[in-house]
Symmetry: C2
Subunit: 489 residues, 2 copies
Amino acid sequence: MTAFDKLMTFQRETSALGQIAGRLGWDQETVMPRGAAPQRAEEMAAIEAVLHARRSDPRVAEWLEQAAPQDMAGKAQLREIRRSYERAVKVPADLATAIARVTSAAQGKWAQARADEDVAAFLPVLEEVVSLKRQEGAALAQGGDVYDAMVEDYEPYTTGSQIAAIFDAMRPRLVALRAAVLDRPEPAALTGRFDELTQMRLSQKLAVAFGYDLNNGRVDKAVHPFSSGSGLDVRITTRTSETDPFNCFYSTIHEVGHAAYEQGIDRDYLLTPLGRGVSMGVHESQSRIYENQLGRSRAFTGWLFEQMKTAFGDFGINEADAFYATVNRVHNGYIRTEADEVQYNLHIMLRFDLERALMAGDLQVADLEGAWNDRFKADFGYAVDKPSNGCLQDVHWSVGLFGYFPTYSLGNVYAGCLNQALRAAIPDLDAQLACGDTSGATGWLRENVQQYGGLYAPREVIQRASGIEPGPEPLLTYLEQKFGGLYGL
Amino acid sequence: MTAFDKLMTFQRETSALGQIAGRLGWDQETVMPRGAAPQRAEEMAAIEAVLHARRSDPRVAEWLEQAAPQDMAGKAQLREIRRSYERAVKVPADLATAIARVTSAAQGKWAQARADEDVAAFLPVLEEVVSLKRQEGAALAQGGDVYDAMVEDYEPYTTGSQIAAIFDAMRPRLVALRAAVLDRPEPAALTGRFDELTQMRLSQKLAVAFGYDLNNGRVDKAVHPFSSGSGLDVRITTRTSETDPFNCFYSTIHEVGHAAYEQGIDRDYLLTPLGRGVSMGVHESQSRIYENQLGRSRAFTGWLFEQMKTAFGDFGINEADAFYATVNRVHNGYIRTEADEVQYNLHIMLRFDLERALMAGDLQVADLEGAWNDRFKADFGYAVDKPSNGCLQDVHWSVGLFGYFPTYSLGNVYAGCLNQALRAAIPDLDAQLACGDTSGATGWLRENVQQYGGLYAPREVIQRASGIEPGPEPLLTYLEQKFGGLYGL
């Protein structure tokens, strides 16, 4: 065997073990008996230790030195293996252990503090998390920008400054669009009760309609919707609420976007570093375009309206245009995960600026709540009423996820670019969506984005698919046109 | 840290990884998407490779050398770790790989041959399996008895000769009992149709009644009932057939016996070599005593009769004694897994003698079918009609399980010993069972057997609990009394 073959054989086993660790996470959120939690923590720690040892195995460095890949895919494999290896050996083991221990405790303290509306109770442990993550960032950056090094974990080959430039261009137009929309009369909200079993059935139908392959996946219920796994075993979860079927349906479509990406990757890359979505931002571009540009389009909601009438009978909305307006209703709110397309990115930009300042040392943990509340007031026009609606609403920072938030909005930006190219490539797309046929759209996405997995860098795959340098203009134009039309601006 | 502590820390991680591998098996049989199978095979191979490397890690030998345990449990831990280590290093890696590869293919060929009733199509691959397993047995035995070395994998500290002595004492009395019973009129079989959802509900109730803790477990459906996992996460499966609710109920009770054993082990042994059932035979003693001596007793079936009437309404049996006779109906049949208490062990003895002869080289694979059919005729009095009812009925040999079959009957023998002691310890046991209260029985079993996990050797734990040298006499007496009464012998 050549060094390259040895490396890939080793890597294939590592990927297989990584899939196992991921499936343990799925199990924990869906079927695990409650009382198993302490044992599961030891199981997770054991497999993570195995994975860490393999990622930093000295033989990997030797093989990397000697490997001579034959083709472009081989070179891309080496690029990703090298990136993973270098990351693994840069962080001292005791620091990694300390981060794992502290974030595990911090998550519980965050949940308690949020329930108690007690920011002060959370700050000491957040202080520890921030301090350890800054040390980790410094170890990774090796003299470079700490926050950039963190972004690299979720959105490789992308810097904080690049993201800031995109966000800075978006913010004024989003603030203006939001103000104009909220100045107009609000469409009706959905009312009534919707049988949860029927929601799950329609949900499954939506998943299949969007090209999710149930032969290599399954749909379950969980507290938080998620997609899990790569290759031949990609599972999604959704949730139901008797009063809010849209939550179920659009969570499902969103997760199907993630899952279809994983299912759609070239099978030649199965269980290799290229055999999974290339970044969180590109992943989110798939979930967002499925959920929003396709799933919340006038054309598709017309079909969904008929499906819901068949499934639930009369539910108080009598007309497809009114249904479309209800689905896309813009409404004041504090919570990121409940935000509409117009306001969502403003929530992200707030977090991006604050976490970047925290990592740079320009913002102290003690000042976080004040900074959050000031910024929220500035962008949304009203004050945060309680911490659970403010800086305690998200789990991310408690578990050490710094550099992750911006990938949600990058996903929206990329979805905007892809949507523009998709519409140009399939002129009668709306006619297809109006029949509930997404195969033209999902086929284009598979062909132009999903199949490549990790072959191209994130911005490159979007650039190749959309034919333009990725930027916010298509998204902003899409939002202004869509909501301009909906609200008669 | 002392050498003992280092060893135990290492071992704890190995046990955690072993639990993960086991849960992958559960996942595969219950929830895995069908199309995931090829990827799952790689995942299983990857974690098995990790486990093998840890079991044969040279540091284990060093730590074993230096470790100085402080107490009896520590000494027992070392005994089990040493046994596992010595087994792992005795078998050459290429032989282990060859066995894994051939048995994986053989299982598919066996299933096809069984479907086609074509013994000849299975024999070549069985020949390979037998040859490889004999090599493995020779490597393990190092000059000793090959079959004994194989039994050691499933029933440590027990030899083929010991088992043969027990079986030889049982066979004539079982053949005689069987003949006498079948000479009498046969009780009515169950007829009618039984809603499968209601079966699952009653099944869950039975599981809880027998002390299964759903906080650390769950009940799912699978093609073959099984119990999976140790410690805080022990899951069982059962199955339903519209016409055969007893299959569902007694499969459930049987698996609850296995699961209660794992759940009942002293929590101090969690994720250590002592933290799981000590042998297949002792495991089976728990599943069998739950299923048969308790679950099929006159007292408990009286309670079950009422439960079934409540759940299903009138189902054609009007009287508790008749219900008891139907539950315990002895009926001619070819299939081991469908056999009643009287005939079951005859099926096992047949397999035990044949596989022992195969391993000794006294029986050739080419002569297996003839030997099977001759022996079946001798013990059961009629001829095998087709291979799927004969030597192709069980999966075990195709996957290399030699030395496993006798543990089923050892379990019955041990259950007989335990039942005798249990009845002596709880004189009013039948009054409890008649109310569906198994807590006296299951509490006694937890106290006297289950809590010890791997602390004592298999025969020792049975001897300590039952107060006698384990042997077949109590089982035979129990069977002769029970079926003598039922059939008026």
